[in-house]
Symmetry: C2
Subunit: 480 residues, 2 copies
Amino acid sequence: MSKEKQQNIEAITNMEEDFAKWYTDVIMKAELADYSPIKGFMVIRPYGFAIWENIKNAYDKRFKETGHENMYFPLLIPESLLKKEAEHVEGFAPEVAWVTHGGDNELTERYCVRPTSETIICSMYAKWLHTWRQLPFLYNQWCNVVRWEKTTRPFLRTSEFLWQEGHTLHETEPEAQAETMQMLEIYRQVAEEYLAVPMVVGQKSEKEKFAGAHATYTMEALMHDGQALQSGTSHNLGQHFTKAFDIMYTNRQGEREHPYHTSWGISTRLIGAVIMVHGDNSGLMLPPKIAPIQVVIVPIAQHKEGVLDHAYALKDTLGELRVKIDDSDAYSPGWKFSQWEMKGVPLRIEIGPKDIQNEKCVFVRRDTGEKFDVLLKDVAQTAREMLEEIQKNMLVRATKMRDEKTQVAHSIDETIEKLKANPGFIKAMWCGSRECEDKLKELTGTSIRCIPFEQENIGSDQCICCGQSPSQMVYLARAY
Amino acid sequence: MSKEKQQNIEAITNMEEDFAKWYTDVIMKAELADYSPIKGFMVIRPYGFAIWENIKNAYDKRFKETGHENMYFPLLIPESLLKKEAEHVEGFAPEVAWVTHGGDNELTERYCVRPTSETIICSMYAKWLHTWRQLPFLYNQWCNVVRWEKTTRPFLRTSEFLWQEGHTLHETEPEAQAETMQMLEIYRQVAEEYLAVPMVVGQKSEKEKFAGAHATYTMEALMHDGQALQSGTSHNLGQHFTKAFDIMYTNRQGEREHPYHTSWGISTRLIGAVIMVHGDNSGLMLPPKIAPIQVVIVPIAQHKEGVLDHAYALKDTLGELRVKIDDSDAYSPGWKFSQWEMKGVPLRIEIGPKDIQNEKCVFVRRDTGEKFDVLLKDVAQTAREMLEEIQKNMLVRATKMRDEKTQVAHSIDETIEKLKANPGFIKAMWCGSRECEDKLKELTGTSIRCIPFEQENIGSDQCICCGQSPSQMVYLARAY
């Protein structure tokens, strides 16, 4: 390792030493986000926000392709509305921010800053819906929400975060269930295709489901340190809210009926997943499809005649990609190399006087560190192909990492032992009782991440806790 | 007018009878927005939000082309931060919402919901800026803001609205001034090119400028009822905030210095301008570039063989445009015509059995009401050309309307008289004193909308109020 590279990255803690510190170091050094003067609230800096814009655009496109439209609801929700669905208020009231004054006047009723918008949206749906002809309602909003958190970590858990929340209404229960599944599947597909983060998909236990849901489905990713991250949830809300909010319509038979309801959300938390799944001790590693800068061109000996001209010509050749030339004269090429590695740029192109003589340049992959000579005439095609290759390789590698950290256990002792040796997912059998779920948590520190759709035969049918059968397979893990 | 059309639009008040009621009728009937359970807060419905997305995308593209990057700052601002710039807190404190509790706990310091973000952004810029090499800072955020308003009207004045706020730092005062002017010019260009709303651009008086600004520049549009609408502002903030927030950097000479600062914003209010500039007694009229639906195809006698097939084939032909087929069997063609006129769709295509026999269809322009037969083979090209023509015509027509409502006055009496006969802009001379500005307001109900960059000789050099000369030309109007 060059001295410059060492200097530049020495501020990043080694991930094996202290993963939590490595994580925040990467965020700060790569300028993804920063702490703000308000405890628990973060600032998303331009480089981090550009990643979010790319993630958001990928999802938004899929939402629209499946017939959803965006809208926007008020930030504030009157306390009386929040209270209309009993489980819901119980779940959220302890963590909301309360607005009590408008200007100099005390309000007659407190408003909470939305922690999620089921209640305010249902109050409007009740007004808008009249007949089955209007159904389904397929709407979504991208917005900020506030949940007053005691312990916060950038992107993973902050008192304010950006997300989208879809809210749909349907004529029948099966249609609502199909929508719930469709959105979870879109979540998974985009996560794998764009973020290169493999997901385990399944259902949440009763204990872990959304406050007010009939059933909650989730996608769960595994981080480098073996902890799971809940990365997106899709809820079949049944008629809980539509009854509480008196949403009714005239059905095809001319009768008045409550529609079936779903909601689903992903958030800036996904950026945390990208950091913790792909990053290494050189810093961030971004999948090309969401990287704000896909290719960085670093001119070598840029004061020499023709070098910068060739660098700019290269950029023109790569017109359709997101390319940056680092032509700053304040830093050496070595410093720039480690700087852009730290920022996770998937592909670096170096070009200097000798390369130009040989009508070539040098490609360096961020994912493997491999270096290649590439003829100048082949640059456009090779870059395009290599970015595709990097995108694919990152998913393959992340899947391999996840699978290596996924183990089977048949007893609580085995769970503890295996997690100690190799933290990650534990596949185990569970009888479905809350008692066993709580006991598992107490004894192993894990929670049931989900009951996966893909059930496997792991050689036993008995609950890992109480021995009862039949049981179902679950994924256990410590989680963010 | 057909009976169906009458029925359909009778719920819209005639604009000559009651313009304010016409405005809200159009918003409600076209489903752009709705009132929410929280007084002063509105819901932006899908059709309204799609217009906002088109406006936002047009501006965002121009911001990025001029080197600006997006980021995101916290929703809440501690009271102590808001108070750091004296004029600023005085301007905003009376209209902010205060958060006093997080969950069950009372906060040790009140937080306000951002009315604008200069203070929180400056507190972070102070941390990030070190050297001239980092300048300029060219950043923007798209977000929601809250200003507790007593009297509200959808899109024009609501307690919460969506906007963007650009915040930039520069080495020199001339650079900051150039940025301020550049952004105002981008505001004007997009407003005219996309929204087809002509703007008067100029400087705000001391009285009307932003709380804490060195100088505020504005673009002002004139509504159908002769009232002006401030549609976007760009502020040269000088060093007011950078001094108050201790933002310093090492300049090229190695000295510590405060940078120069700008901010600039446009909001969902622009949708109000589009409604009130282009709408008529049939409802909304949308410029093609921001219309969620650019072309609506209405099949005639759609149960007859081949009609729907031809309608769908037409849609395929128009692939690159935003096209909707209204193939509902619940409504008659006549009802659909008036429905889509009310929603302001720029171009309607009708196709029925007779048309198909003659290998043609019928185009109807929303802006002029004109009908044309178009051969099926020419549909794609004609539609594209006609949308361009409509876009241009709407700007020409809005400019003509604005100019017809712009008059010159040389006395207060003349101002009152002319505004009574023909409400709109009054071009008049003003000495620059606050006394005359206040007197004008009191006697005529108008405010100084701006001191336009394009000064004209209106035949006198004397202040309309006190007679003093030299004076400058200003635009007066009653305003939203």
